[in-house]
């Protein structure tokens, strides 16, 4: 029988907490930038200009056809080069910056699809009514369509945020230590990989399960 040895976890808790803060930081940046950029892309995708809508479609299908692991590796290749050609060699954490950029741009393509579906779910009568009141099409989008669309999309946007929270563990491939990376490194160092990986799994499960329960009850509230 396997003898579990949980003794290295209590001492590692401060580091694991630091890792969790980093996880939340990456998630937060990607959610905010992803939704803002995703909204712009969704509006471009639905615009009458075929150039804009094709460019937006290309962005979305491009990012969605490549594994996240490759996207992270790509930006860990590109970001340092761009930074050094723009600013020389600043004292930035290049791994963290690459992760921010990769997740923000990658998530934008997923958020764009959610937001596009949300915009299309608002009935066309609303747009006509806005235009009939003398609003420009930009005003109609901003003041009438988007507020209704976002209200409907909140559960989906939050669910995507939970998926993103889980996906941040993949920054392991560029050697950035967020929660999962810290757990793995601690386990590797102390020879307690089994316990640390189980611990990490339980923590992710508790957080994500609780969050998805909250989203589900929110969804019920919004529907009624």
């Amino acid at each position: 029988m396997y003898q579990f040895d949980w003794s290295s976890i209590p001492g590692a808790l401060p580091y694991l907490w630091q890792g969790m803060l980093r996880t939340l930081q990456i998630t937060g940046v990607a959610v905010v930038v992803g939704i803002v950029l995703g909204t712009l892309i969704a509006v471009a995708r639905l615009s009458k200009s075929s150039i804009l809508s094709n460019l937006a479609a290309l962005y979305v299908s491009g990012f969605r056809s490549v594994p996240l692991v490759m996207v992270l590796l790509w930006f860990y290749l590109l970001v340092p080069q761009i930074i050094s050609s723009l600013f020389g060699q600043p004292g930035l954490d290049i791994r963290l910056l690459s992760a921010f950029v990769a997740f923000a741009l990658f998530e934008a393509s997923y958020y764009a699809e959610i937001i596009r579906a949300g915009i299309q779910s608002v009935s066309s009568g609303q747009v006509s009514a806005g235009l009939a009141l003398g609003m420009t099409s930009g005003q109609t989008m901003r003041l009438i369509v988007l507020p209704q669309a976002f209200r409907r999309m909140i559960p989906l946007l939050l669910t995507q945020a939970i998926i993103l929270f889980q996906d941040t563990s993949l920054v392991y491939v560029i050697g950035l230590a967020e929660f999962f990376g810290v757990a793995y490194n601690t386990g590797n160092r102390d020879g307690t990989l089994v316990e640390l990986l189980l611990f990490a799994g339980i923590v992710y499960f508790v957080i994500c399960f609780a969050a998805s329960m909250i989203v589900r009850s929110l969804q019920k509230k919004l529907v009624s």
Binding site: S65, P67, M70, L73, L197, L198, C208
Partner: protein, 249 residues
């Protein structure tokens, strides 16, 4: 931009690979083969388990649907990378007998492959189960009642009435789950399986031609995607249900 493109050296793919397996082109194609083999095997596992769990969730009573729900929540709320490490590093340690056999009898490549298949299969099964469940639930209670009233038993109702229609309705979401499994298979590079993105990193590390390597691999993923979509459009056309808009509900 122009000087960057001109600076790329595509001849790298015709030079011999560091591991003596042939040219680097062949090296990448080996990775492509592993990606496809891993994805397809895991997909079969996901389809079987997902169908069982999805059907359980639509059964009458509380126990069986409850078990199905536990499965889905468990596999949906733990990151894929953590699940992979649990399959690869943890389970062989803590399962007596079988785990020792796994570590001693299988060569490393087979260990990586089996862990990858089990991980992707069980992970994707949770998503397939949700699709199967929503497919069955979309049929309406009348179908089940009609089947039972005709004297069929419950397994017959599922086998002859509910599942044949439900599967045809959920082909589009199942296609996107298949595309997801291909993308998710890149995670297996973290345990050293020589699939496409692992080969891309190896090629970059040994030749320093990172851009050529990443561009080639990104294009290969794109080609896989387009191929799957063309095939699935054909399948959708053939299996389209009369009376459903585009076969999709």
């Amino acid at each position: 931009m122009v000087s960057f493109v001109a600076g790329l050296d595509w001849n790298i793919f015709f030079q011999p690979a560091f591991d003596g397996s042939g040219t680097y082109l062949r090296f990448l194609l080996i990775g492509l083969a592993w990606t496809i083999l891993l994805s397809v095997t895991a997909w079969i596992l996901a389809f079987v388990i997902g169908s069982i769990v999805g059907v359980l969730r639509t059964f009458p009573g509380r126990l069986l649907p409850g078990l199905g729900a536990v499965y889905v929540e468990l596999f949906r709320n733990v990151p894929l990378l953590v699940q992979l490490f649990l399959w690869y590093f943890v389970l062989p340690e803590i399962i007596p007998g079988l785990g020792t056999w796994f570590k001693q009898a299988l060569n490393p490549l087979l260990q990586q492959f089996v862990s990858g298949v089990l991980c992707l299969g069980f992970f994707t099964a949770a998503r397939v189960a949700e699709q199967v469940r929503s497919g069955i639930n979309s049929l309406g209670r009348g179908q089940r009642g009609a089947g039972l009233a005709l004297g069929l038993n419950l397994p017959q109702v599922y086998q002859l009435i509910l599942l044949p229609v439900a599967y045809r309705i959920i082909i589009p979401p199942l296609t996107s789950e298949f595309l997801n499994i291909i993308k998710n298979s890149a995670v297996a590079s973290t345990i050293g399986l020589a699939e496409l993105s692992r080969q891309a990193q190896q090629l970059g590390e040994f030749t320093a031609h990172w851009y050529e390597s990443f561009i080639a691999v990104t294009l290969l993923y794109g080609i896989i995607n387009v191929t799957v979509m063309i095939v699935s459009q054909f399948v959708e056309r053939v299996t389209r249900l009369p009376g459903y808009l585009g076969g999709r509900k």
